[in-house]
């Protein structure tokens, strides 16, 4: 029973655009254990959302998964038919989005929306389903679930909308929840409440969560494992302690340095200079090289693979090889 809940193996996603092919995801592999919260971090545009959507095989046009396997609960999702994927999406893997105001349908009440989703996948009586919906609204900490059942999305605050979306996600009792920047649109106190809710759900239901965020601070508070993405590849992955206390990749170090630090008073944010290269014309060699303060000669010619730092920790940087780590 040591099999992970989800393993993504060598995932590639490509967008065919009029300007040329954009290689948004270029061979990433990671896995999520049962009951684990895993953080997927990186700057905007590095491929976090596409990774999340690839798991559900919902990469938007003109994008497509060109290679890779997505092993979920022991079976590969890639060869499944669209009908079988509908079942996976509706029942086993749920997703919540950044902007709950936009993700809830404005013309149906909160209760109706969750009801409609449940109706698609379960054959219970209407009364039972309604009861379940109200229970779910209560489970995600919404006050007066009976009243909220008939409320429309625009009548709820952002935090309540996000809770409602989480309730919808939980309606099928999924084993994996993909949360794509679930708190980015919310203000700080509400952010903390939503993260608490996610942690509670993980504990009480044993659900696994893939938490996508550009905010390492959030990861530190919620996750057990972290994958750091850069330009469609994994820069570093490890347990939270590995990433926060023993970061190996200069990109991870840069992200950590960019965190607002309560200790160093008055210090301006350290931002990594430069920006993520476009997937259209990637530099040869390490894609982070142009921004890296430790850049070496061969970094701009060769692409580093993942080197094992410790059994739980990998980094894609030649620096690690220099200091004597073993080759992959």
């Amino acid at each position: 029973m040591n099999q992970p809940l989800l393993s993504v193996e060598d995932l590639h996603v490509r967008f065919r655009t009029p300007l040329g092919d954009v290689h948004a995801i270029r061979g990433i592999s990671f896995s999520i254990e049962r009951g684990q919260i895993m953080g997927l971090v990186g700057e905007t545009g590095c491929g976090k959302s596409m990774t999340g959507r690839s798991i559900l095989r919902l990469v938007p046009q003109p994008g497509e998964i060109t290679r890779g396997r997505i092993l979920f609960e022991g079976r590969d999702l890639m060869p499944l038919s669209e009908d079988e994927m509908h079942k996976i999406r509706g029942e086993r893997i749920a997703m919540i989005y950044q902007d709950p105001a936009a993700a809830l349908n404005p013309v149906f009440s909160i209760g109706q929306q969750i009801f409609m989703v449940m109706e698609q996948h379960q054959a219970n009586s209407d009364v039972d389903t309604r009861q379940r919906v109200i229970q779910l609204l209560e489970d995600v900490g919404l006050p007066e679930p009976m009243t909220l059942y008939n409320a429309y999305p625009h009548e709820l605050s952002g935090g309540m909308q996000q809770r409602a979306m989480i309730a919808m996600a939980l309606s099928s009792d999924p084993s994996l929840l993909i949360a794509d920047e679930p708190t980015t649109a919310l203000d700080v106190t509400i952010q903390a409440q939503i993260l608490d809710l996610l942690i509670t759900l993980q504990r009480s239901r044993g659900i696994s969560i893939l938490l996508i965020t550009h905010n390492l601070g959030i990861v530190a508070e919620t996750c057990q494992r972290v994958v750091v993405l850069y330009a469609g590849r994994i820069a570093e992955q490890g347990d939270v302690g590995d990433i926060f206390h023993r970061p190996h990749h200069p990109y991870t170090k840069g992200l950590l340095a960019a965190l607002p630090n309560p200790g160093s008073r008055g210090n301006a944010l350290n931002v990594i200079p430069g920006r993520v290269p476009s997937g259209l014309d990637l530099p040869p060699g390490c894609t982070f090289a142009p921004r890296c303060e430790y850049v070496m000669d061969h970094c701009s010619q060769h692409q580093p693979g993942l080197f094992t730092v410790s059994p739980s920790h990998e980094a894609a940087c030649f620096l690690h090889e220099e200091v004597g780590g073993k080759k992959p």
Partner: protein, 305 residues
């Protein structure tokens, strides 16, 4: 919701009052009805008598009050041409116009909405191209020309339907298409664009991510949102179907209010025109009120505003 309806009612009443005032003023400034009603041999006494009969010796405000009082019971006086009560003639023509307007409206919905949905769901397919052609033709072909062409092909050349009049059951088809043509194209375009917006929205992405089937996504989740903008427009078009009936009825000699207006215009029958304008206004304003209420019912953001 009640507040919204009440507000809309008040606006409606004011609109009707405003139109009645405009009609009243326009009739006064468009010429002296006495010169129209009296012939060249009339005496000064005839003239004065008519002035008193028409109430033209009273102050303007009193005249308007009298006009309103009569209008309230739908009394617009007698036709200048046949001296029959205007209202009776209009009411007698009303069913023909309603029949035509309804047929045109149904035509524009039955063709426009599904075509709009199809061309948004199956982008760049045959349906999308058919939709684009319909949209283009709908907006560029003048109705009178379309009417004559339809008449020429389907009535004269093919002899499938009668060329004009309202005698056989199928004589409404061509005028209804002529009348509904523009609206069909407009409905199609609006439904298409608002469906595209809806289908591209986050809540559709979420519905997909929840494994909701594609048909439920299109017909339930997207359409209920997408139908709202075209619906407001339909409120306006319902009105234009009434007023647009002038061209369609004139081309096909369809004996409705449109043709009546056309004839009244040619014969300077100001009493008749005045009545028709008020009638058209009532229908126009009434339908948009009905549509607004329906709109509010569909869009909870308005319903509870």
């Amino acid at each position: 919701m009640q507040k919204f309806i009440a507000r809309r009612m008040v606006v409606t009443v004011f609109t009707i009052l405003l139109v009645s005032l405009i009609v009243f003023v326009m009739v006064r400034v468009s010429g002296d009805p006495r010169t129209l009603l009296l012939d060249d041999y009339a005496s000064i006494e005839d003239y004065d008598e008519l002035t008193a009969n028409l109430g033209l010796d009273k102050p303007l405000f009193t005249q308007y009050a009298i006009f309103l009082r009569h209008a309230l019971v739908l009394d617009f006086g007698d036709s200048v041409v046949d001296e029959q009560p205007v209202t009776a003639t209009i009411l007698q023509r009303l069913p023909a116009t309603l029949q035509l307007g309804l047929a045109a409206f149904i035509f524009s919905l039955v063709i426009g909405i599904p075509l709009g949905i199809l061309s948004s769901v199956k982008r760049d397919s045959v349906w999308d191209h058919v939709g684009k052609v319909v949209a283009l033709l709908g907006q560029s072909l003048p109705p009178f020309w379309l009417g004559i062409m339809l008449m020429f092909f389907f009535a004269v050349t093919l002899d499938w339907v009668p060329p004009s009049g309202r005698f056989e059951w199928n004589s409404f088809i061509l005028p209804a298409i002529t009348l509904g043509w523009f609206t069909t194209a407009a409905n199609m375009r609006l439904v298409r664009s608002s469906m595209l917006t809806a289908l591209d929205s986050e809540y559709i992405k979420l519905a997909r991510a929840k494994g909701v089937s594609e048909s439920v996504i299109v017909w339930k989740h997207a359409l209920k949102n997408a139908i709202i903008p075209p619906l407001t427009f339909m409120g306006v078009t319902l009105g234009t179907l009434v007023t647009g009936s002038i061209v369609a009825e004139a081309v096909f000699a369809w004996p409705g209010i449109g043709l009546l207006a056309f004839d009244a215009l040619r014969q300077s029958d100001y009493a008749m025109l005045q009545g028709i304008i008020i009638f058209f206004t009532l229908m126009y304003v009434g339908t948009s009120l009905a549509v607004d209420i329906l709109y509010a019912y569909l869009d909870p953001r308005i319903r509870f505003a």
